[in-house]
Amino acid sequence: MKKMKILIVENDVIVNRIWSSWLSRKQHQIRCAISAAEAISLIDEEMPDLLLLDLRLNGPSPKASGLRVFDYARRKNPDVPVIFITGLEYDVELYRKAKGFSDHDNSVGKYTTMVKKPISIDKLTDMVQSLEI
């Protein structure tokens, strides 16, 4: 099992803490951000191996804030894997449309997966593990 540097971006601190605690237990190196700004500064510090990204972050433009982080990370490293976590499928469709992805394409670009909340902790672990190279 490879240790990965994972950046969790989730505005709910409890969820954030649960995931980071759990994934830490799985021997991953976890950093947490509860806002887009914080996430961006952490990306600047060091590019993670995986982004666990909530699409709706609190901020001036809640819908787009997750996407802002995504765009920022992808600009720095176009191959960085991203797992989107979202409350509504609606957001995914919105993003797909914005990026011009096909409706039938379940992944949002390269190394990108979309999951809907709530997600089982086991499933989350599996997904993270499946991304390990």
Binding site: D12, I14, V15, I18, W19, S21, W22, G87, L88, E89, Y90, K116, K117, P118, I119, S120, I121, D122
Partner: protein, 841 residues
């Protein structure tokens, strides 16, 4: 032997008296009387028979011819022989004029001369009297003959005219006329030449052939009478004269003229009558006469009719089809019925009323047939009937769709028009609301009228109204130039040949620059096209379009009638529309409510997801951690109580289970909300859609146990039926009910049946299951949110299913009921169906 005569001698000289006495005595005169004056002679003539008087002209007191006159005055019937001393100054002639029978000069008188003179005077008198009698008798005959007798000499002067003639001419006696010129006196100047010609023929003829003629004669008072003459010639006093007998025919003539005038009048009536009239021979059925109207109505020339049997004439044969009908007509004398015949002009059938009468004239029987063109009346009656049907239809409680569909069918049937369509306002445009007989592609291409720019946006006029294209647009906007022949005063457009219309108007832009015709009607082969505005009286809300590939289908009358209908329809549609709009508003309100509640649900679902995430994962971690071998044996809890660890696992599992359930509730809330994301309506063919849903469901795990027979669609409809609904809503509706049915089944022979039926234009979808049934006391509470019959917490039913179903059904104006008993539960959905024709739209 000479007649014995008695003589009176009147002379004032004694010697002469004696001499004459002696002479006459010797000559053998029977009685001789003598006297010397007229006075004495009176007594003698009165008391004795005197046959002749020998009169001396000079009797002292009077003399000369006056003596004769005086004597003749006294005795007009007594012949007088004048004896005088001398003859001078034409005295003898004067005496004859005054009535003397003879004139003797005294010195020349001998016995024989005197005697003979007396005897001859008597003889002449007798003859004269006889002839006078004869003449008087003849005149009497003439006078009582009753005809006018007229004799003219060769100059045309009247020689003789009888009393009747005088009467006719208004004269008191013939004397007024005799000697006058007939032509100058009794013939009208304008007739003179003609009558003189006849006269000359008569008098110039070598024989006495009778020539007839008639002419007017002028009476004394200037009035005229008509006389019918029989003219001949005859010798009279040595010359040839005309002898004419005339009859006063003024009365007859007047009667004849009156008869002629009346005949003429009746002829004119006959000819100018606005009914077709045929006169038939009663016995043979031959046509004796036909009038002009019939010629115009049925064609054929006058000649072609005459002499033919009535049932031999083409168009009439439809009325009087054979001889038997004619015989019936003869028998009854009066026949009346209505029929249809082909008209000569258009070839179109015309309705006629046939009335036949027989009548006698001068012992001959005729049949008169009147053929009245009642097409106009029949058309009017038919139109009246149509209007009544339409009014009934408009007042019937059908949907606008059904009503208009029936309406278009009625009009189509009535007019025989190939294609008919109705446009109705929808937003800014006026698309076809319904159509019959048009090709689908035509409707597709012509559906919208709003002119659009390159971007597909509507183009507006200066009043801010969207510009409507084509002729339909002009009519709907009222943008018509009523001076043009193809527009009516009520703003309809009509033509009997689009080709000719386009040719005639080629190159010239029609009155309004706003107008742009697409001419598709013409390119599609429609020649007769009419567009009638559908008006509420004040606003135009659409149009009725009539298209036919034949030329000349319309008349101005028909268009006028359609306008009348359009007004009725327009008012009714506007009213029904308003009612429908209220209904739609109500539905929209329900839908809005549904929508907003869905949005709320969606929000709630989202808001709950993150907290649930925390709770769910916490329990998961708790469970996972509790199950782990504690790496750190220092943990007292672990070592002290394994039962507590187990308890922890159970509690965590409980938490996971409850969280999972909450997540499922959220999922159904989300699904519920998702359906609301689209308000678009689809035309759902129930049979196809239900089959698809069943097929899809059978692939899912939950319905895997069903065989094809155990979960199937039963179609009991006689025709395709469709409803308007959002497809997602419909799927959700059916899937929820199927899931509900599935859940109710707790045995190994599951069976779900969806029955599709059509009752009174309502589609009925029944979902039946053989499950455990619903408790009878639940009623409609089963449709309340979060109601569930589930006893099993693992059930897929989160209690929203049926309430979602109910909401969807109500939002679309449908109805849901259920029946249930153990082993059989059915949910019955009812939606009003869309007419088949409109599916093509």
């Amino acid at each position: 032997m000479p007649r014995k005569i008695d003589v009176l001698i009147v002379d004032d000289e004694e010697q002469i008296r004696s001499l004459f006495y002696t002479m006459l005595e010797h000559a053998g005169v029977r009685d001789i009387y003598v006297c010397e004056s007229l006075g004495e002679s009176v007594g003698i003539v009165a008391s004795h028979n005197v046959d002749v008087v020998v009169l001396d002209l000079f009797l002292g007191e009077i003399g000369g011819v006056d003596t004769v006159s005086a004597f003749k005055e006294l005795f007009p019937d007594l012949p007088v022989v004048v004896v005088t001393g001398y003859d001078q100054d034409g005295l003898s002639y004067k005496c004859f004029e005054s009535g003397a029978s003879d004139f003797l000069i005294k010195p020349e008188v001998s016995q024989m001369l005197l005697y003979k003179s007396c005897v001859y005077a008597v003889e002449r008198d007798i003859i004269q009297k006889h002839s006078q009698m004869e003449s008087e008798r003849a005149n009497t005959y003439l006078d009582i003959a009753g005809v006018m007798m007229l004799v003219l000499d060769k100059n045309g002067d009247i020689v003789l005219i009888n009393k009747k003639g005088c009467d006719i001419l208004g004269y008191d006696s013939a004397d007024e006329l005799v000697g006058k010129n007939w032509f100058d006196t009794c013939i009208r100047p304008e007739d003179r030449d003609r009558i003189e010609q006849v006269f000359l023929t008569v008098v110039g003829a070598s024989n006495t052939k009778v020539v007839q003629c008639e002419n007017a004669v002028v009476r004394k008072d200037g009035s005229t009478r008509f006389v019918s003459w029989r003219n001949s010639n005859t010798p009279y006093r040595g010359e040839i004269v005309s002898l004419s007998s005339g009859e006063d025919i003024t009365k007859q003539k007047v009667m004849m003229d009156a008869l002629k005038a009346s005949e003429h009048r009746y002829r004119r009536l006959f000819e100018s009558a606005q009914d077709g009239i045929i006169i038939l021979d009663f016995d043979t059925g031959q046509i004796l006469d036909v009038n002009k109207y019939l010629l115009d109505l049925l064609g054929y020339t006058h000649k072609e009719y005459l002499g033919k049997k009535v049932w031999e004439i083409g168009p009439l044969s439809e009325v009087i089809s054979n001889k038997n009908v004619f015989l019936e007509l003869k028998q009854k004398g009066y026949v009346r019925y209505e029929s249809r015949v082909a008209s000569s002009g258009s070839g179109e059938p015309v309705n006629v009323e046939f009335i036949s009468n027989s009548y006698r004239v001068n012992g001959q029987t005729f049949i008169q047939c009147n053929i009245r063109n009642i097409t106009a009346r029949v058309v009017l009656e038919e139109r009246q009937r149509l209007i009544i049907r339409i009014l009934k239809l408009l007042n019937a409680p059908y949907s606008v769709q059904t009503t208009i569909s029936d309406l278009l069918e009625m009009i189509q049937e009535f007019t025989g028009i190939e294609a008919i369509a109705l446009r109705l306002q929808e937003g800014e445009d006026y698309p076809y609301f319904m159509y019959k007989g048009f090709d689908q592609s035509f409707i597709f291409l012509e559906n919208f009228l709003c002119r659009t720019d390159n971007q597909g946006c509507n183009v507006f006029d200066e009043h801010g109204k969207p510009i409507l294209d084509c002729m339909c647009g002009c009519v709907i906007r009222g943008n018509v130039d009523k001076s043009l022949p193809f527009f009516t005063p009520n703003g309809s457009f009509w033509t009997n040949s689009t080709t000719e219309l386009l040719e005639a108007n080629a190159g010239q832009p029609l009155s309004s620059s706003q107008m742009k015709t697409r001419n598709r009607c013409n390119t599609e082969g429609y020649e007769s096209v009419a567009i009638i505005p559908l008006s509420t009286g004040s606003d135009i809300i659409g149009s009725i379009q009539l298209n036919d590939s034949r030329k000349g289908v319309f008349t101005l009358g028909l268009i006028g009638f359609m306008e009348e209908l359009a007004l009725t329809i327009g008012v009714a549609v506007a009213r029904a529309w308003q009612e429908d709009r209220i209904k739609i508003l109500e539905v929209a309100k329900t839908k809005d409510l549904l929508q907003s509640s869905r949005q709320l649900n969606s929000g709630i679902a989202h808001e709950l997801r993150t907290p649930l995430q925390a709770i769910f994962n916490s329990f998961e971690i708790m469970k996972a951690v509790s199950q782990e071998e504690c790496p750190n044996q220092l943990c007292t809890r672990c070592t002290s109580s394994c039962s507590f660890r187990e308890e922890m696992v159970q509690m965590a599992e409980g938490g996971i289970d409850r969280s999972s359930y909450s997540i499922q509730v959220l999922d159904s809330l989300s699904e519920y909300s998702k359906a609301a994301s689209s308000e678009e309506l689809h035309l759902i063919n129930l049979f196809t859609e239900l089959n698809t849903i069943i097929k899809t469901l059978r692939y899912t795990d939950y319905f895997k146990c069903f065989s094809a027979e155990a979960f199937r669609l039963v179609d009991r409809t006689s025709r395709e039926c469709s409803i308007m609904m959002n497809r997602v809503d419909f799927s959700q509706l059916i899937i929820n009910l199927c899931r509900n049915a599935r859940e109710a089944i707790d045995h190994d022979h599951p069976c779900i049946q969806i029955v599709l039926d059509l009752v009174d234009n309502e589609s009925v979808i029944t979902i039946q299951d053989n499950g455990k049934g619903i408790k009878s006391d639940l009623g409609d509470t089963i449709f309340e949110p979060y109601f569930s019959t589930k006893e099993n917490p693992d059930s897929h039913n989160q209690g929203l299913g049926l309430s979602i179903v109910k909401n969807i059904v109500l939002a679309y104006g449908g109805n849901i009921t259920y029946n249930s008993r153990s082993g059989c539960t059915e949910f019955i959905l009812k939606f009003s169906c869309i007419q088949e024709q409109t599916q093509e739209e």
